[in-house]
Symmetry: C2
Subunit: 290 residues, 2 copies
């Protein structure tokens, strides 16, 4: 039997306080629930005294932007992953309020559903450097490749090539070291979504390549690794490698089944692609990278 307690305790005095009985009220609830599975659940809070982390959402394209900073470093250097043009003012205002120094505005890939905020950020904060993979073919200040390490203060992100949604997709993963956040955090772009994955029918997409990318570069991470995708359409914010290994409806299948699923999605033509992709090839138009 599981005994859960609803107990009255004394809080600081308040005008809202009422006289509280001091005797604990114990309630016994059933120890077995219908809502059970055999899965190992992980504590889903990454532990680091250095890392300031914020997940930000752009509602129209359901895009997540991620802010990470080393707040124990004197300059509080920060990176922004997958900023959206429409929310640049919000993001820069937050960065300013938190006293952070934004150094890198990074993309996981050339997006087709929104315009990146990197160019607009550079126009407002010229010291910031835009970052994208060399394989993307897009223009940026700095190009990363598989195996690169992007440092901000005493924290760093590993770059893992995860092509398949687009030819230049990368996943950024927090460092594998005792002084880095534990569990690790992976920013997967559109390669792996929560209980899903990005489509593979444009921008050099390949379902075969995506399958290999996810299985070799993401599913090989520790099972408690926190997965932060570029989008979510159902209101989920985070998953873990362990969860997706067990519950991803596409990527738990064998490769042939996965390819068949991806070949038969019958998705509509992305409404923003003809505007967004050309813009994103040059940092969102507004930028003239040096």
């Amino acid at each position: 039997m599981l005994c859960l307690q609803l107990v009255r305790v004394s809080l600081s005095a308040s005008k809202f306080s009422t006289a509280l009985p001091l005797a604990p009220i114990s309630r016994v609830v059933p120890g077995t629930s219908r809502l059970r599975s055999s899965m190992a659940a992980y504590s889903t809070l990454s532990q680091s005294s250095k890392l300031l982390f914020r997940q930000l959402f752009e509602k129209e394209s359901s895009t997540y932007t991620y802010l990470l900073a080393d707040v124990l470093h004197p300059n509080k250097p920060a990176v922004l992953i997958d900023p959206v043009d429409k929310t640049v003012d919000r993001d820069l205002s937050l960065i300013q309020q938190l006293g952070l120094s934004l150094v890198y505005a990074m993309n996981t890939h050339v997006h087709a559903d929104h315009v990146t905020g990197t160019g607009l950020i550079k126009s407002k904060a010229p010291d910031v450097k835009s970052v994208i993979s060399r394989a993307s073919g897009a223009t940026a200040d700095l190009y990363v490749e598989h195996g690169d390490k992007v440092s901000f203060g005493d924290l760093f992100l590993e770059v893992r090539a995860t092509p398949g949604h687009t030819v230049g997709c990368v996943t950024y993963v927090t460092g594998d070291a005792s002084d880095q956040p534990q569990p690790r955090m992976a920013f997967t772009g559109d390669a792996l979504l929560i209980r899903g994955c990005g489509r593979t029918d444009f921008q050099g997409g390949s379902s075969e390549q995506l399958y290999k990318s996810v299985h070799s570069q993401i599913f090989t991470l520790p099972k408690d690794t926190l997965l932060y995708p570029a989008h979510d359409y159902k209101g989920f914010a985070v998953s873990t490698v362990g969860e997706e290994l067990q519950y991803n409806p596409r990527l738990t299948k064998d490769e042939e089944t996965f390819k068949n699923i991806m070949a038969n999605l019958n998705l509509p033509y992305p409404k923003m692609i003809d505007m967004a992709v050309p813009a994103n090839m040059v940092c969102g138009i507004q930028s003239k990278p040096t």
Copy 2:
């Protein structure tokens, strides 16, 4: 001068690996950025090996639902704060996949903008108990008051009365003990929103009471306390007491100014209130609490 490094490191062998130069590429970026303030920034990840935490979003009403569980307890007991009727299936599916035992479906208050999911949850999982404040006047299985402690496994939430948006609003705060999550986490409902607060012009609302609630019950928490509101309309997910003490545009003002701001918001009549409030007074209609 701040020296940030973009370094090539060796990752596990992959078909996507390319020959990588091993010499570090150091780039010097300016040590002063325009994006600076004097504010102390806090690491915004709560540390606990016990706590599984998920923030879930319902897009139509911009409502956050929070899942907390003690995953080191054999039964993995869980609580759900502010579930929405439309996302009950998503939430219960996630709880099942994670192997958790949902014990409490809790509301911070009687919502006016969506129908609570507590009744629907009880119809699908009868062992779950609905929880709301006694002061709300609503029907539920368990009523909490200021000073109560709601335990799930070895974790617990304190109940703090924070009326003002409605007469029965409470804030649930993780426990103040060394074996509880650090920093603390406060689920503020509509009492305190990120850079805002709930309106005070219906359901027994009072701007005077709200001001006192936030200042006496939330702003007195440690500055690194993570604030998780019931809603956000701009894509923010979390704030801290320190941030809101410095940047909340309403609650940083003196009480008279705050009351004037709240009296002159000229907000439209809430479109769902006439349906949602009567439903939420009885656990979202579907439930017949015992």
